[in-house]
Amino acid sequence: MCLSIPSKVTKIDKESNVATVDTMGIFRDASLDLMEEDSVKIGDYVLLHIGFIMNKIDEEDAMESLETYKEIIEIMNEEDRQKAILEDAECPNRVV
């Protein structure tokens, strides 16, 4: 049993209702039986679970999340900078 994993849709076979998905260079078929007709398109990012496509990943939402993380990293880096400046200013060996 494996966790559900993000994959990219590369082909759709409407007759058998199966899509081909790419998971980092590994291609396999997955059933579209759990998705509404025509809701999945080539190029979509989807979650794959035991041979079925479970849902479509919201790309915009993923990008937004990643943007927020960039901001949090900036905050941390800024704090580190301030800390370093403070330590430097308080260093007894510092020659002004």
Binding site: M1, M24, D33, D58, D61, S65, I72, I75, M76
Partner: protein, 373 residues
């Protein structure tokens, strides 16, 4: 920036992001009035937490309690014995997902049954049953279906295909169970020490986050539905800490790129077509829980292996070995390391209980990833 597939893996495991979130959690946690216990319901989250060492990044006033979200772990021995007995029936091919291979029943595991000559096949996808059934028209294929709400729709889709294609030699032994009822039982126990929940990722993709509303509402316990990646789990912990600091108690979704309120309606519809809720079901460790498991509707009973093979299936309930504390571990009352047989008499190659051998079992996670702590 255009989203690449790689981003969905790498960026949600990014080291700097994890460090930054750990930093934020440390800052917020200083404002906590007391320490908090967060239960991650799903075994997959337990594995993420252990594999990525996330406990090492948290301050001492935040603790993880491991939950019962491992469908194989919560199956009582008598149901495992059903699988064993069915596999040894004449002209039966027992098909199930790989996780069931080594799970110990009272007579042995399915691997042991296979060594005795049973035809047991482990598949990656339930749909493989159709190929097996077509290639073995003279045999009966029994699909032993396990899993929470993530996996139920796949069984439903298979049933749908079996009926559409008029396949006559596939039966189903249904062991699908549901998450919220288990969470409720844990909270109904007054001695529980759970302050908040990290909600399962992929159960929620199917059901929608709506199924957790009752917990902030009726039990005053915040729930944050989280993704599996370390960044997701850390962000979820931060969201929970902020709720406590800001004195909020809400249902939030961290895993918004895949989880919404309503879930996968098509999957839910398929489930409703074939399944109804059992009155009660015995969970290993948690005891009898009302309306927590599924059964095929009466009109599909001809596909129900439990009915067709009723006369051969064992009926008595079977308890675990005395020294096995899987029950307490599943309720979040004990840690795998507290088990007397952890790592000695009970190991992944010689398991006494399924928690040690399931890919989502807490004991398996601790055995594989937890020894440095």
């Amino acid at each position: 920036m255009k989203l690449e597939l790689k981003n969905l893996y790498e960026d949600f495991r990014d080291a700097d992001t994890i460090k930054a979130l750990a930093n934020e959690i440390q800052k917020e946690a200083l404002k906590l009035p007391q320490s908090i216990n967060i239960m991650e319901v799903c075994g997959g989250h337990t594995h993420s937490i252990m594999k990525y060492g996330l406990k090492q990044l948290l301050p001492t006033n935040i603790n993880f309690i491991h939950g019962p979200g491992c469908p194989v772990c919560v199956m009582p021995k008598e149901r495992i014995d059903h699988a064993y007995v069915l596999s040894l029936q004449k002209n039966v091919i027992l098909v199930t997902l790989g996780d069931m291979i080594k799970v110990p029943g009272s007579n042995g595991s399915l691997q042991d049954a296979r060594a005795k000559g049973a035809d047991v096949r482990f598949v990656y996808s339930p749909m493989e049953c159709i190929k097996i059934a077509n290639e073995n028209q003279d045999k009966t294929v029994i699909f032993f279906a396990i899993g929470f709400e993530t996996t139920t729709p796949m069984t439903s889709a298979l049933i749908n295909q079996v009926i559409k294609k008029e396949i006559k030699n596939i039966l189903f032994h249904i062991n699908h169970i549901t998450v919220p009822e288990a969470m409720r039982i844990l909270l109904d126990d007054e001695t529980n020490t759970i302050d908040a929940f990290i909600g399962p990722s992929h159960v929620s993709v199917i059901t929608g986050s709506k199924i957790y509303e009752e917990f902030p509402l009726n039990y005053k316990k915040p729930v944050v539905v989280s993704g599996f990646e370390p960044v997701d789990v850390m962000k979820s912990v931060l969201m929970i800490v902020k709720q406590f600091v800001q004195k909020r108690c809400e249902l939030e979704v961290e895993y918004s790129r895949s989880v919404n309120y309503d879930g996968n309606i098509q999957a839910q519809r398929l489930n409703d077509t074939f399944f109804e809720t059992r009155d009660t079901f015995r969970w290993r460790g948690l005891g009898d829980i009302k309306k927590s498991a599924l059964i095929l509707k009466a009109k599909y009973s001809q596909y129900d292996a439990e009915k067709v093979y009723d006369t051969v299936l064992p009926k008595t309930t079977i308890d675990d070995h005395k020294l096995c504390i899987c029950g307490d571990i599943l309720k979040g009352k004990a840690n795998p390391k507290e088990c007397k047989v952890f790592g000695t008499a009970c190991t992944p190659s010689n398991p006494m209980g399924s928690c040690m051998v399931s890919s989502e079992g807490a004991c398996a996670a601790y055995f594989k990833f937890g020894n440095i702590l």
